[in-house]
Symmetry: C2
Subunit: 196 residues, 2 copies
DNA sequence: ACAAAAACATACCGACTAGTATGTTTTTGT
DNA sequence: ACAAAAACATACTAGTCGGTATGTTTTTGT
């Protein structure tokens, strides 16, 4: 039960990479087999079908990555507005897995799969809601600690900021250059500073 | 030269509708033929291939729609910040062609096609840059007229607002409900009011 | 050690894809 | 009216897709 788990993990990781760069529907199972060096029999031993694998990617790759990469750093930083800005700066400018030309994996999947598969929508909604909740909670905590204005509506701000992130990721894809990230981050900083 | 032009227009319009709801790559030419009642011979008389049709959709359907539906109303409204808010409110809440579950046509195409076809990227960039320029110009005009603070960076604001729009459209797809639009619009209003 | 189950391998299939080859009909200019 | 060109129609192809049927190898529990 050790080698098999490694095979499964390898499929999920490599498939995630392919889907991130090429899109879900245009990543064929044969593509995945070619890059993983796994045969079709092995693939279909681990997953009933392509969609089950796609869901497993969200659950077993994307959700843990969100938790470890974004949620936990957010919880550690005491200043919520600084935490949010730093998170965005890190995601856009420093993260070396995310590429400007490929956008945001969660946003990509959302846009591509939402019309086709309800299970994908549900899983992706859980993903984003976890992010939303932690950001909102941080802002609320900041209100109590005096770091955020009392009249700030935490959920609204969170939604506004996350929308901006998904949107600028799409702009980055279009321009194929991180240079659009800089004016976005400046505007974001000014927006966040106005909440103090 | 009249009937043929009508056939071409019909293909482009119906194909645009299909692509908006289903995505470009997952809309087959047979799909388009079935909904237009046009035969394959006719289709390939009007377009060399699928991508040429896709580009024609951007040029002949989406660009004019942007100009007539968004650019011109924006130029007419003297208060730029009100113009921007009204435009967003109209796009999100009142426009009855755009559906919450299908997102923004331009954002969808950008995300789907950017890794695959440079011509699509270029055409979509022209589309968005036209929108960006008009919004920025309106803000600059507002600065001179005293309706916008002098220290506001027009291009930054434009990019921030457009990113938010693309992003919230994606959230709408995910939640499949216009209810997320309302808190976004409230946050947008507050953001814009802070620029006065 | 050895049977049973888990894990993987190979060959194949029907459905669908964009595109083409080769026609026929309709429109156009004179 | 009539030839030429434009506009459309039909049948087909080569390739790709997700998925399956049927094996063989490897691991596991006893």
């Amino acid at each position: 039960m050790k080698k098999a788990a490694a095979t499964r993990r390898d499929i999920l990781q490599k498939a995630f990479g392919l889907i991130y760069t090429k899109g879900y529907q245009t990543t064929s199972i044969d593509d995945i087999l070619a890059t993983t060096q796994v045969t079709k029999g092995a693939f279909y031993y681990h997953f009933r079908n392509k969609d089950e694998m796609g869901l497993a990617i969200i659950e077993e790759i994307m959700k843990p990555a969100l938790t470890e990469g974004l949620i936990e750093p957010l919880l550690r930083q005491p200043d919520p507005l600084k935490a949010i800005y730093d998170m965005m700066y890190g995601l856009l400018m420093k993260n070396d897995f995310l590429k400007v030309e490929y956008g945001c994996p969660a946003a990509n999947l959302t846009q591509e799969m939402t019309p086709w598969n309800e299970d994908f929508s549900k899983a992706l909604e859980e993903l984003t809601q976890q992010w939303q909740k932690v950001m909102s909670a941080a802002i609320e905590k900041g209100k109590k600690g005096g770091l955020v204005r009392k009249d700030v509506h935490a959920k609204q701000v969170t939604l506004f900021v996350m929308s901006g992130y998904w949107g600028i990721r799409n702009f980055g894809k279009l321009e194929n250059s991180k240079s659009v990230y800089l004016p976005f981050l400046k505007a974001l900083k000014q927006y966040l500073d106005a909440l103090r």
